[in-house]
Symmetry: C2
Subunit: 450 residues, 2 copies
């Protein structure tokens, strides 16, 4: 990399280069510190033109590039594998326009998700997706990974809200796919290729996003159900609610084990080990509490609903504290799976027939068929001993159920070796053909995804 | 084609071949009778395997193929240009499954849209898109054209609801992209390529579609507004309604001219030539009439709302009768455009500065930024005299406004020569690369779109 420093300086200027190993360290590591690269240079371009010139230069000189947004990937998708050039979008952080007639926002890809929301609040709009990393993840990274999160059951995936993109291709060409039309039927929609492609086909520099009105009201129900079948019956009804904002699932035996870790938190029920719990959020305009309560009552009499904002927060806190508490109980293998919702209990029992102890927990976005399946071990040794057997079985079962090994976290480095099994040889082959079409020299985010 | 008849007979059987010119005629023509091909053979395969064998044979023998669903295209997208083989999906019309937990329906691509709705009604669900051709258009054709229609303002485009596809490629390979997971983040989503590609990349044989609950209630408001600015202010407010089902725009001067053609139809207002009219539909669960009325009142006092189903139908009929009445007034040039909603009046004035008479009418889905812009001429001669000048100007203005020359009707044969202007050279080039990747011998739907 050393011999190229002067060339990069001419393209981006010294003020947009990071070479100090101390400053580079956080960019070389993912936030979970599972992965660490050896990059010697990060550049922070301030314009699309600069991104284009960087990529053109890299392509000519066969310099590998890893695009980086907020670096919040769970799968090592945004950190270098070797000594790639880090291309950070952080300085391309301008919100360019909000169109009050169409509710479309146009922004550069380095804007942080929560900054987008701060800006949109004035207009009573918000971004149509939300995730835990909202304070640091960036627009471009969100789009490149088709980020999931908390609102999918209501709003659908992020992809549905991306109307236009500006993308710089590995050869430096700028593809102008910006678009503020809600309807545009003029052939194959090229921008779809870049959504969820994890920075392997091009670098997103700008986007047009259709925003959602901020809901006027929120109402949370916490329900206790006697078994998993009853839970699935409830899901079938709740999916009919047009204001359904969340349908989150937790096991009683796990919530019980969470009690000691949440001493300050008021529990909506006396959690029972053999019961199942669901948090339903209704959000929108003009919520009729009675309407929903009556319909939920058909499934269980054990219903609590929040009377004020702090009770709402407390109920959500029970759901959100599950993953962090599991990590306090031991060493955890985590899987982010999509499988048919009615198969989840069966799935967990197939992995561990006894289902005893805190081991083998499933919880999460049951409304989307997306469950976080976690296995807790008492020691690292035990975890490593079991990992291979368990993982092989999970991949096989997921494949047999036509599920997905990555519902929302993406593939990155972590799940790359399972991609051919997941997609099938034919489909995976065409994904590789697309890579060859857009990035024939394989300079963009190498050793990820494909 | 004659020399191949025996080969096709071996693949599909005599009962799945149409060779009689009388029977072939309606398949060679589009329904508007603008286009007519000279195909001598149509095949009606009954399975994906058969489709695969047909395409493999055609690819080996360089036989061009036009896939055909309900043949309801507005742009000549489904009729042969020359003597292509017509591959009709009409016999692949099985609905395979409805999953009551996930509300996902799986069906073959030859199922008619209204048959899908008849089937789903039992479960209190419906298809997430609706269009005038519902009685004859088919699932596969809808997907291949990313069909628009009446529900886009609420539900978004068809694309958002397609979770999985089975596609037969021109070389006969079957690409299994079927998927019943709402969340699946495992790289570039290959199925997106086929949605809206108008049968140029592959033939869709099956699909998984996410269905919508049938709305419990519908409420229509008819509003009179003093100018176009007021209309746009109203649109900005109405877009905040989570139950907004339609926002349809009409000009008073056009509605006035429609009066003699709708003698039986009760008018919600005494239409005035210098006013603007909007139909707003609110649909969903638990509609609060007062809530909406109060908010609409901020924009105009001239509001009528339906008290019963027949008034609702009458109000919709005023909107729906506009295009057919325009055709009764003279000879019509029609354009299906997406441009920024607040630019519509300006746009129409740019084409015809005086805006007098019934000439130069715009109406339609203003809520989506999709307007049907029609120009009425007294004679065919006059129309032909003006067509070139007008069309050139429309294309140029639309391009300058970053709009779309096809909001929902597609490209087909009709708008093919404008595609490079619409997409720009770079993007159009990559669309052609994709065509070469999937269909190197250019056998599939030739002389359409690209």
């Amino acid at each position: 990399m050393k011999k190229y420093l002067n060339s990069f300086k001419q393209i981006v200027g010294a003020q947009n280069m990071i070479t100090d190993p101390f400053d580079l360290k956080p960019l070389n590591q993912d936030w979970q510190r599972f992965y660490e690269g050896k990059s010697e240079l990060a550049v922070t371009p301030t314009s699309t033109k600069m991104v284009s010139e960087i990529l053109q230069f890299c392509n000519q000189n066969n310099i590998k590039v890893v695009p980086q947004g907020g670096n919040t990937s769970f799968v090592g998708g945004a950190t270098p594998v070797q000594d790639e050039l880090i291309l950070s979008l952080r300085k391309m952080n301008n919100i360019l326009e909000f169109d009050t007639t169409t509710s479309i926002v146009t922004a550069e890809s380095g804007v942080i998700l929560s900054s987008m929301n701060d800006y949109l609040q004035t207009y009573r709009y918000q971004m149509p997706w939300d995730l835990g990393a909202r304070g640091s993840c960036q627009l471009g990274g969100n789009i490149a990974t088709n980020a999931g999160g908390l609102n999918v059951v209501r709003n659908g995936p992020l992809r549905n809200y991306i109307l236009g993109l500006e993308v710089v291709l590995p050869n430096g060409k700028i593809l102008n796919l910006l678009n503020k039309n809600r309807k545009d039927n003029t052939g194959t929609d090229l921008k779809q290729l870049f959504i969820g492609s994890e920075g392997t086909l091009g670098i997103i520099t700008k986007a047009n996003v259709l925003c959602s009105p901020i809901p006027e009201q929120r109402q949370v129900f916490f329900l206790e159900l006697k078994d998993f079948d009853e839970t699935i019956q409830l899901l079938r009804s709740a999916k009919q609610f047009e204001q359904l904002g969340a349908f989150e699932f937790m096991e009683g035996r796990i919530l019980q084990r969470c009690l000691p870790f949440n001493p300050q938190l008021k529990a909506p029920f006396e959690f029972k080990a053999d019961k199942y719990y669901v948090l339903i959020e209704i959000c929108g305009q003009q919520i009729e509490l009675e309407y929903y309560f009556e319909r939920l009552l058909k499934h269980t009499e054990q219903i609590v609903f929040n009377q004020n904002e702090s009770e709402l927060q407390a109920m959500w806190r029970w759901r959100e504290s599950v993953p962090e508490n599991l990590h306090k109980m031991g060493h955890v293998l985590t899987y982010d799976l999509s499988i048919p919702p009615d198969k989840f209990e069966w799935f967990a029992e197939e992995i561990y027939p006894e289902r005893k102890g805190p081991y083998n927990a499933f919880y999460g976005h049951l409304g989307d068929g997306n469950i976080h399946y976690n296995i807790v071990f008492e020691s690292v040794q035990e975890m490593h001993k079991e990992q291979e057997r368990v993982e092989e079985k999970i991949i096989k079962l997921t494949k047999n159920l036509n599920g997905s090994i990555s519902a929302e976290h993406g593939v990155g480095q972590l799940k790359r070796h399972y991609m051919e099994i997941q997609k099938g040889k034919e489909t995976f082959g065409y994904m590789q053909e697309l890579k060859r079409l857009f990035d024939p020299n394989n300079i963009l985010n190498p050793e990820k995804l494909l």
